[in-house]
Structure formats: structure tokens, C-alpha cells
Amino acid sequence: MSTPAAQDLRIITSRFDVEDGHTLAGYERTGGYAGLRRAMEMAPADVHGEVRTASLLGRGGAGFPAGVKWGFCPPGVWPRYLVVNGDESEPGTYKDRLLMERDPHQLIEGCLIACYALGLSQCFLYVRGEMAHAQERLAAALNEAYEAGYVGANVLGAKDFSVDITLHWGAGAYIVGEETALIESLEGNRGMPRLKPPYFPASIGLYGKPTIVNNVETLANLPWIVSNGGAAFAAMGAESSTGTRVFAVSGHVVSPGVFEVPFGTTTFRDIIFDSRYAGGLHPGRSLKTFIPGGASAPWFFEEHLDIPLEKATVDKAGSMLGSGAIVVMDDTTDVVRACHNVVRFFARESCGKCTPCREGTSWLEMILSRILAGQGRPQDLDLLMDVCDNISPGINWPPRQTTICPLGPSAVSPIASALERFRGEFEAYLPATAVSVTTASGVAS
């Protein structure tokens, strides 16, 4: 992974090049905690107002406006909690990890600003279990911040503002990225999504109390927004997708990495091919397909390259911007293997709670494995599609969700995309003559 040489405008990745940006000294030297001080000079409601003005969309995947979400807490119910979703696990996504590793204080400052705006005194920072380096950096930074009086009782000497931030390491489950499953996990239960309604933890969340769950990147934007004003943030990017956004580009590109770009005005072509960003494909290769927003998203192709990185437009084109992970596949890619790889991930990560996802995803994986092993049957391709249809009726995007959470339908996306576009490659795996498949219960043809 390379560090981008030059970028137009960097709000939250500005310290990625600062060697000691993860320490308190480095952070303060580069303007750190100014946002918090600025916020504490304002009334909490005004801070909330700035975030609303900024139209900051949640950066976790669903893209819900953070300022609006903050307003969902039922009045008069206390205590309330802030929970930071640092369980970034979508394949291809690694922006939050870098934000935590390279600039942990920025996240802590963002948490403090959110707590100030909302009158909260307890924040839980849930970090994915596998992110050992991020955990170390965050823990060290939090110790420094406590020491320096930014966190703990009487933040910066304020009489009526105290915040505790508790770190919590995940135990390694993709589904815990889903906010209600994360809350379950935080409470010490199995990480399984909660039933909806209630649709938002803001009404009933952690320990049954109103809980704001925000993504790492969302909160990391707050120091800049408070320092520079919500209007300045809203002025950047597109009208409905404001500010900048961090994308992680991986796959068959010259320089994979994390890039902060103006939200909504940059196109997929820019971020994949521009030399300031991923730098295009390797010489002599051509684009086969790319995943625009994490492994859950339906795939995009050549004709989608000029779509801007903007939520509404991507949604309209039949996929999603999701977690900001762009996975590029060039013409050397074996689509069936790629498909199998993604489906296997979802089968392994299904929590096992509802039937279609638990049984369906692993069945899909088994069929794909069999096809790859040369044991496919002609009817298997239709079977794949029908199993997909039973997991996600209609195979629409966005899915008509009949499972508890979107994990099951997510496994459908790659198969539906790949089979529709590259059916020939699947057929090529089928043996020329019908095979007998030996099964536990006998022989099937």
C-alpha cells in the first residue's frame, strides 16, 4: 500500500504523513484538540447544529445523516451512550483501521465533541478484535488523553463535562459491524443482530438505553467540522454527499491504498485510474469488474466508471457505496473463484440466527466449491440463482430484506452479478459430459 503522493484536500487523513501524528505531542502540534476547545466554547445544541449544517452522512455503510440520527434519542431518557463502531470487517475495507492507527487522537476528539454535543458522559469504543495495531495505538492515545485531562472527570477543567471512554475489543465476527449485533456483543452476549423494530438503537440500545452508534470515520470528521464550521464542510463535495470521504482501493491496481477525496464529485474512474489515487491497472490489463462498496455490493463494470462517488447516484445505478471499499478486478480474474471467495466469506460469517442466511450461504458455497472442483452440473447455475432467490426474494437491489439483517442478501450480490455477466465462465467449469457426483447418500447426476 502506498501513501498518496498528493491529494487535493485532506481533512481527516491529514496526519497520515506525520510520523508522530498518533502521539499526543504530534497531534497537538498539528492543531489537535482545537476542535474540542472550540466546541466547549459553544452551547452543545449549537455544536449539534453545526453537524446538522454539515450534512455529515454516516460513513459506516448505510449513509444516514449523523446530525439527524443524533436527534432520535427519546426525550428525558437517561443515561445515554455513545458507541463507536470500529468493527470494520467488510472485505476490502480498511479505512477505519488506518484512521485508528495513524490518528487515534482525532477519533478520541471526535468522540468528545459528540459527547459534548449530546450531553453524554460514557463512550464505548468497540474495535475489531483482529486490529492489534489499532488497539495498541488507541489504548496508548487514550492513556495520553486521560493523562492530559482531555478525557475523564472534568474535561479540560470544565465543571459540568466529564467523559469516560471505554475500549472494547471484538472477538472476531463480521456481523458485529451491524450496530445492534455490536451492542449485543458489547453487552457480553453472542454477537447476533437484534430484531427490528426498534430500528435505531437511539431509542433502545445498549443496556436498553438510548444509544448513538457512529462509525469511526464519521466521528473523525467532527474536529474539522467544529473548527471550520458545518457550512465549510457542506461546501465541499456534492450537494447531497458533503465533505470528503475516505475510500479504500484494493485489487488489481498499481497503487492500492486509502484515499480521501471530495465526496460526490470524484468518479470511480478518477479514484481507480488517477495517478494521485490508485494509479490505474497494471500495464496491459483491462478492467473486468469492480466492487464499488464492499463485498456486499453488487458488482460494477466498465460502463459504471463515470458514476460519481455519491450515494444517491450509486444507489440508482443498482449498487451501493457502502463502506467505501473499491475492489478492482482485471481481465486475469477468474470470476468463479472470485465469486466463491466472497461467498465463502459470508458463509463463514453468518451468525446462524435466521435460516435462509445460515443454511443458504453455506449451500451456495458448497455448490461453488463443487463447480470449481469440476463436479458441477448444468442445473447448478439455475440452482445457484434459485437459492439466491430464496435468501433474498426477487434478488433486487437494495434487497427486499426477509432476513433479520442484510448479511444473507449480501452473499447473493456477487453471484447474481457474476452469473448475469459472466455465465460463460461458470459454464466453462462444467465438465463436457455429465458427471456423477458422489454424495453421502449415494450418487446424484
Binding site: 453468518s350 446462524g352 445460515r358 443454511e359 443458504g360 449451500w363 432467490d389 426477509t402 433479520i404
Partner: protein
């Protein structure tokens, strides 16, 4: 609320349906006769939406969408379509998914024939699987406890058993482990599913994943015949009794809204094993020679004909009456019989023999007037959302399992506040709002402060060992909820102390209850929890000194009853203790034991021993030859549960039907018939040919049961509650005096555990081994005081006896108190009871 607001109008498949507000679509549809297939949904547990089988088209105005009907509440104008193509496709898909990894071993599966998965596979689904890969494999059935096996290959992960364990029983010992298609239900290492209620998971399992040891491979469902009946426990749990080839093979709980909600305790569920025991009495026995010849001088019990046994019994009774008068005949027990049995025995004793020395309890309950003289609550009333429950009783989890489940649900889900007024923690302590754990014998002081508004701490700054602040807080909590029903669960919290202490506490509460009840408020009522199946029926039928059938006294109801019966005793007789004392003094010539075992159950074993050995003739009517019956001179084999018809009265006064499905062993007969025959031998013809004829007389003569028709009892799902009572509880003039405890002693609390040394449990092979080993339980604080360590073997010494046993720590036992189970099979706590003392104090000595 007006009528219109209590109905939500929806349509199901085009038909208008009136649903209840907040009702799930699946429940509303089912009430309207439209069955929506499901596996995980269970009406008595929270919906989890896991199986997705109940997915149907629901249109709330935004177009039809597939939604799980177990998790969508009805809304006005909702349109539900359970037959749309989209619905069928989704349900077929789910069913195919569920069957992917299911082993389809139906031919060797106990559930085959009554399996929801099998049934729905017939009704829905493609019929043929497209799955050709290897199925998931697990080790075939593994025990999750001593009674239940788990086959994880058959499991469809519906979360019913795990939810039951967590939500209903409060024993979250089986859980999901691993994830994705490797998800499995299992216990944690070294932590078996040790729950009193584990059998319920077998009943609610929608596949054959959970099987019960006593039923495994015993029968196929289509070979079973069944009747709905009432399990003879004080709760009167509704059950279905299933039998094949004249043998009871299974009890299943019936979801009765008023009583057990479909749940049963393992002890009750599996007790049918004991009923089929080889040890059951099959023929009458009389004294005879070692060669089996009947001979009154013999020391053996030998088989005899009914005629011989009845003649001998009648002769003995006649001689006793002639010699010393009717009072020399006494009757103990009867609390396990049907109402009809009890009535005929009561009529025989009081109307024919003329003795009032009759007691169904063995000094291990409460005086009859305390039980019958209180305004009676129902279980549903006690569980009214937002109400208050005061626990003045032994641990319901140990003694009244299904009541425990109902109370637990009420406290956890419906905001009922529970106030424990007990000498030690109970199974409900964890969820109790107030735990007023008083010193043994001091309940009355706490009760007085609780409802009297007068909180005056004693010299130690407490009230009966409870902090005055806690009592004050609980009193305020009661006052705050006075607009909702207050229910006292009333029983005998400890058998190591006199019942007088509990009576004193009731005396404090009844004044408050009368005050509340007069004020037009929901008021305060009592739910008596006593030991033995139909003990409340026995009191109603007059099997207690001074009482006559129909909750009336000799003084009040005597004249009327004498007109029908011919005569009634002129003066109240003695209770169990009085009877045994009289017997020990040689004043009882004939003692009739009706399923009673004073040697095993009476709190003072030595007195029982002396008494039984001083009685001229003991006549026992029983299922088993228990230790007391073994001393009898004449033994009648009695028919038990499921072997005879009758009615049962539960702790609410609810009368429900018991039905017969198998024939009694040998020549055993129902008790009403035995008593009728014996009466005939004594010259009185009751004219009873069937239990129905007995009931007709009860409904004619017993004031509280007047006009309760058998038809009404038989046809109503929840039976009929008899609520009238003319018995008045008059508080004793003097409080039971409480001797001081010395600084080196611990005061003993003793109550029953679920699995015990009782005959039925010990005759059921699956249950016999479950009784815990005896240990003395002491507060951790007292260990240093006494100078021993937890787990140490100690010598426990009381005024009258001593024994060696381990001592263990439990903070649920207050300081200065020691707890010891009443009914352990290995050690008998009664060896420590002093029959002349009102409390039992112990010293602990290291060995």
C-alpha cells in the same frame, strides 16, 4: 377504553378478522382459523424471528411485503395473505433450507408422527431436496442432563429450548455455540442443564432433537391414547396423559391460561415411572404367618381378599368404638386423593364412625382455618401486571415449580414487585424487589412493621433481623401499589419451627387485608401453598379437625350436615400432632392412614414411631408400602393418578377434572370405593356407585361447592373456582413465644427440596438419583465465627440429637441462621428437632 379501541380490524386471506391490540399477526390468524407454519414462534415466549417459516405477505398500505408474522403486530386495516405465490415460494425455500442438514432419520426418531417439521414438510416445501452435498455431522445424542438427550443433527436451531431455559426457567445453561451453519445448541463444559424444568424443552422442541430419557424409544405417537387431566399437585397443572397398552408413557403439559401455561416440572413430568413401579401395591394385605396364611397374631403382611381385609378393618373399628368411643379411631392423610375420595372418607369418619380426629396434613402445613379463612387469590390475580406479591412461604422453585414459573414471568416481564418475607433466599430472590430475610421465628414482627405503618427497630437497630430501612422501603412500595392487587403466597416457610410463627405473621397481615378489601380497591388476597397434591381439596372436603365438607365448621355446618349424614361429631377433634400424641398415650385404637407416612413426613419422627407402635390396629390405604404402611395391620391397595376418575382442587380453589386412562394394578381400587365398602361393612349405605354420584352429593351438601355441576367442571378448560368460605380465621390471643438464641448457636430453617426421599420420586428410576446430598448451609460470615471452613465435615448438635455432615457457604442464608433440607434421602434433619420446642437451635462442632 371503548369497545372499538380494543379491536384491530385486519383481513387474513380476504376474511375480516378482529385482532387484539398488540397481537402478533400469527396469533391473530391462528385464532381466526388460519394456520401459519412456524417453528421458532411459541406463544409463551418472546418472538425471535429465527426460522423465517412464518413469513407471509403483509400489506400495511405500502403494498404487500414478506414479513415474519411472529414479529409483526397487527395494525388497523392490515391485509395479510398467507397463500400468495410469493409467500409459498418463501416458505418452500425456508423449508428446503431447514431440511438441508436435517438427517431425515424419522423412522428411528421419537418425534416421528408428531413432528412439526415432518408435518410441514408434508404440507409445504418442494418434497424433493436439491441438496446433494454432505450433511452437517455431530456426535449423535449427547446428554445435556440426567433426563434429556440432545441430537444436534436433528436440531433446526429454532431457539425454543434455549429461550425456555433463559426466559422462562431462568436457567440459561443451554446456549448456541459456534456460528453459521456450524451453530449448535450445547451446554458449557462441566455445566449440565441442571434445571427443574428441562423436560419442557423436550415438549416444545419442534423436531426430535431433544428427547427425554424416560420416554425414548418407548412408543410411537400413533400408538398412544390420551386424556386431558389434572396433575395432582397443589397448582393443579393441566396435563395430557398418554398411554399405550394400559401403561402410562408420558405426561405433556397443557397450556392452561389460568394455571401452568403448558409447563411442568421434571419431577411431575417423569413421575409416571414411579406410578408403574414394581413396588405398587396390587392386593390387600393383612397380618399373617410367614407361610402366607392370614392370622391376626402374625407379624408378616400377607395377601388377602378384599372381603377379608374389609371385614377385619370394620371389625377393628367397631371394637374400638365399642371399647373407647369413636374418638379412639383417627384418620391421617388423604391429601393426595381426589375430592370424591376425600369426601367419602370424611363422611365415613365423621358421619359414620363419629370421630373428628381427622387431619389431612401431618403438622407440616398450616392450620385449616388460616388457609380457609383468608380471602383467596388466583394465580392470574397474583400475576396482575404491576401488582405486589409477598412471599411468606417456602421456596416456590423447590415446592411449587409451575407457580414459580408463573411468578417469575410476572416479576420479570409484567412488573410485579416481589417482597420476600422469608427466613432465607428463594429461587425468586434474584428478581425480588425486597428481600426481607428475617431471623427464624420472627416473621410476625416484620409483617407487623410492613403493613402496620409503625417501623420501630429493635435494640439491634433491626426488625426481626431485617434492616429497618429495608422494611420501611418495602412498606412504602406496598403503599405505592395499593391500586393493584396484593397477593400473599402463604405457606410454612420452615418445618424446623412451629407453625405458630407463620400464623402470627398472618394475623398481622389480615388486618391490613381487611382494611384494603373494604376500601373497594383490588385489595389483598392469599394464595396458600401447602404440601401434597390435593391438600386444598382435603381441607375443602373436611379432612381436618373441626371442619365439614364445604368450608364450614362443625359448629356452623354441623346441624345441617347431621340431617343428611345422620350425625356429626359433637366436638372438634385433634390435629395430626394431637392424634399421634394420643396414640402414643394409648388412646387411639384404630389409626387409618390415607396415603400418609407419618414416619417419613411428620416433623417429629420419634413421636410418630412411638405412636404407630402403640396403636392397636393400623389401616393403611396406599399406592406403596411406605415405612408407616409397613407397620399396618390391614393394607388396602389404592388406585392412583390416571387410574381413576375424579376432581382435583388446586391452591386457588380451582376444581378441575382428573380422568382415567389405565387400569389400576392388581385389584387396587379408588379410595372413594374403599371407603364406601368399609362404610357398608359398618352398616352405612352411602349408595355411591361412581365418583360422579359422589360429586353430586358434594354439590348438594357442601356449602362452598353448592351447585358446582360436574358438567361445568368437565367442559371448562380452566375448571371452576370455588370461592365461598364461611370459615373465619381468628388470630390466636397470644403470640407464639420466641426463646432467645444463644451466641454460639445457629437457628435452623428447614424446607423441602424438589427431589426428595418421597416414595414416588424414589420409585421413579430417572428421578431417584437426582436428590441432592445433604449439607448444612450457613452464611459465609458465620464460618469464621464458628471456626470452620466451607466444605468441612462437621458435627451438628441440637438439644435432642446430633449428626455429621458437610457445611457449605451460601450468602442467601442470613447470619445466625443455618439451613438444612427437610427431605434428603441420606440424612434426616428431623433427628435434630425437639418436639417440645418451637424452634431448633444448633451448634456446630468440628470433627
Amino acid at each position: 377504553m371503548s369497545e372499538a379501541e380494543t379491536v384491530v380490524n385486519i383481513t387474513v386471506n380476504g376474511q375480516p378478522v378482529e385482532a387484539k391490540p398488540g397481537e402478533w399477526v400469527i396469533a391473530a390468524a391462528e385464532r381466526a382459523g388460519v394456520y401459519i407454519p412456524h417453528f421458532c414462534y411459541h406463544p409463551r415466549m418472546n418472538s425471535v424471528g429465527m426460522c423465517r417459516m412464518c413469513i407471509v405477505d403483509i400489506d400495511t398500505g405500502r403494498g404487500p411485503a414478506l414479513q415474519p408474522s411472529c414479529m409483526v403486530a397487527v395494525t388497523e386495516g392490515m391485509e395479510v395473505d398467507t397463500t400468495s405465490d410469493q409467500t409459498r415460494k418463501a416458505q418452500d425455500g425456508v423449508l428446503e433450507f431447514l431440511l438441508l442438514n436435517h438427517p431425515l432419520d424419522c423412522p428411528v426418531c421419537d418425534k416421528g408422527g408428531e413432528c412439526p417439521l415432518q408435518d410441514q414438510t408434508m404440507a409445504y416445501g418442494p418434497g424433493e431436496s436439491r441438496f446433494i452435498e454432505e450433511k452437517r455431522h455431530f456426535e449423535k445424542p449427547i446428554p445435556v442432563n440426567d433426563l434429556v438427550y440432545l441430537d444436534r443433527e436433528r436440531c433446526i436451531l429454532c431457539d425454543r429450548c434455549t429461550r425456555f431455559a433463559d426466559e422462562v426457567a431462568g436457567d440459561p445453561l443451554i446456549t448456541f455455540q459456534d456460528r453459521g451453519d456450524q451453530t449448535q445448541v450445547n451446554t458449557f463444559p462441566d455445566l449440565p442443564f441442571s434445571s427443574y424444568f428441562s423436560g419442557n424443552t423436550v415438549q416444545i422442541c419442534p423436531v426430535g432433537a431433544l428427547t427425554a430419557v424416560p420416554y425414548r424409544f418407548k412408543a410411537r405417537p400413533w400408538d398412544l391414547t390420551e386424556v386431558e387431566s389434572t396433575y395432582p399437585n397443589p397448582m393443579g397443572d393441566r396435563v395430557v396423559v398418554q398411554a399405550s397398552r394400559d401403561q402410562v408413557l408420558r405426561y405433556q403439559g397443557v397450556d392452561s391460561d389460568a394455571v401452568n401455561w403448558g409447563w411442568l416440572t421434571d419431577k411431575d413430568r417423569f413421575s409416571f415411572e414411579g406410578m408403574a413401579s414394581e413396588l405398587r401395591l396390587r392386593t390387600p394385605l393383612v397380618r399373617g404367618t410367614p407361610l402366607g396364611q392370614p392370622d391376626p397374631r402374625g407379624n408378616e403382611l400377607v395377601e388377602a381378599s378384599w372381603h377379608q381385609a374389609l371385614t377385619l378393618a370394620a371389625d377393628a373399628i367397631r371394637v374400638a368404638i365399642d371399647d373407647k368411643g369413636p374418638q379412639s379411631v383417627a384418620v391421617l392423610g388423604g391429601a393426595r386423593l381426589t375430592n370424591e375420595d376425600q369426601y367419602v372418607w370424611a363422611r365415613l369418619a365423621k358421619g359414620v364412625i363419629g370421630t373428628d380426629n381427622v387431619d389431612a396434613q401431618l403438622d407440616d402445613g398450616l392450620p385449616a382455618d388460616v388457609v380457609l379463612g383468608m380471602p383467596r387469590a388466583t394465580v392470574n390475580q397474583a400475576c396482575t401486571p404491576g401488582g405486589t406479591v409477598i412471599l411468606l412461604a417456602p421456596d416456590p422453585k423447590e415446592e411449587q415449580g409451575t407457580l414459580y414459573l408463573r411468578l417469575r414471568h410476572a416479576v420479570v416481564n409484567d412488573g410485579v414487585q416481589l417482597i420476600e418475607l422469608t427466613p432465607r433466599a428463594s429461587g425468586l430472590s434474584q428478581m425480588a424487589a425486597f428481600r426481607l430475610h428475617h431471623r427464624p421465628g420472627e416473621a410476625a414482627a416484620v409483617a407487623a412493621a410492613l403493613v402496620g405503618g409503625d417501623i420501630e427497630p429493635g435494640p439491634d437497630g433491626d426488625i426481626g433481623g431485617v434492616s429497618a430501612a429495608d422494611v420501611a422501603a418495602a412498606a412504602a412500595a406496598i403503599a405505592n401499589r395499593a391500586d393493584k392487587p396484593i397477593t400473599v403466597i402463604l405457606g410454612r416457610p420452615s418445618l424446623a419451627e412451629s407453625a405458630g410463627f407463620t400464623v402470627d405473621a398472618v394475623a398481622e397481615l389480615i388486618g391490613f387485608a381487611n382494611l384494603l378489601n373494604a376500601g373497594g380497591r383490588p385489595g389483598m388476597a392469599f394464595l396458600p401453598v401447602l404440601h401434597r397434591g390435593n391438600v386444598l381439596g382435603a381441607l375443602d372436603m373436611g379432612l381436618a379437625p373441626g371442619l365439614l365438607p364445604g368450608r364450614t365448621t362443625l359448629a356452623e355446618g354441623g346441624p345441617a350436615m347431621a340431617e343428611s349424614w345422620g350425625s356429626v361429631p359433637s366436638a372438634p377433634g385433634a390435629d395430626a400432632r394431637g392424634i399421634l400424641k394420643a396414640a402414643a398415650d394409648g388412646q387411639i385404637d384404630v389409626l387409618i392412614l390415607l396415603g400418609a407416612d407419618p414416619l417419613g413426613d411428620f416433623p417429629h419422627r420419634e413421636l410418630a414411631d412411638v405412636a404407630l407402635n402403640n396403636v392397636g390396629t393400623i389401616i393403611a390405604s396406599d399406592l406403596f408400602l411406605n415405612p408407616s404402611a409397613a407397620l399396618a395391620h390391614i393394607v388396602f391397595p389404592a388406585a392412583g393418578f390416571a387410574e381413576r376418575r375424579g376432581t382435583h382442587t388446586n391452591l386457588e380453589g380451582r376444581i378441575t377434572a382428573q380422568r382415567q386412562i389405565v387400569t389400576p394394578p392388581g385389584t387396587a381400587r379408588a379410595d372413594w370405593a374403599i371407603a364406601t365398602e368399609l362404610a357398608r361393612q359398618l352398616g352405612a349405605d352411602f349408595g355411591f356407585g361412581t365418583p360422579e354420584e359422589v360429586w353430586d352429593e358434594i354439590a348438594r351438601l357442601a356449602p362452598s361447592h353448592r351447585n358446582l355441576s360436574l358438567e361445568a367442571i368437565d367442559t371448562s378448560d380452566d375448571g371452576v373456582v370455588a370461592s365461598d368460605s364461611s370459615i373465619v380465621f381468628s388470630p390466636p390471643d397470644d403470640l407464639t413465644p420466641l426463646p432467645p438464641v444463644d451466641a454460639y448457636s445457629l437457628r435452623l430453617v428447614s424446607s423441602r427440596r424438589m427431589y426428595d426421599r418421597g416414595t414416588l420420586v424414589q420409585s421413579a428410576s430417572s428421578l431417584a438419583g437426582l436428590a441432592p446430598t445433604a449439607a448444612l448451609v450457613v452464611n459465609p460470615y458465620d464460618f469464621s465465627r464458628v471456626g470452620v471452613e466451607s466444605g468441612a465435615d462437621v458435627q451438628v448438635v441440637s438439644h435432642v440429637g446430633e449428626m455429621g455432615l458437610p457445611v457449605v457457604a451460601d450468602p442467601g442464608v442470613p447470619r445466625g441462621t443455618a439451613a438444612f433440607g427437610y427431605n434428603h434421602p441420606d440424612l434426616d434433619v428431623r433427628d435434630l428437632f425437639d418436639p417440645d420446642a418451637v424452634v431448633t437451635d444448633l451448634r456446630i462442632q468440628t470433627r
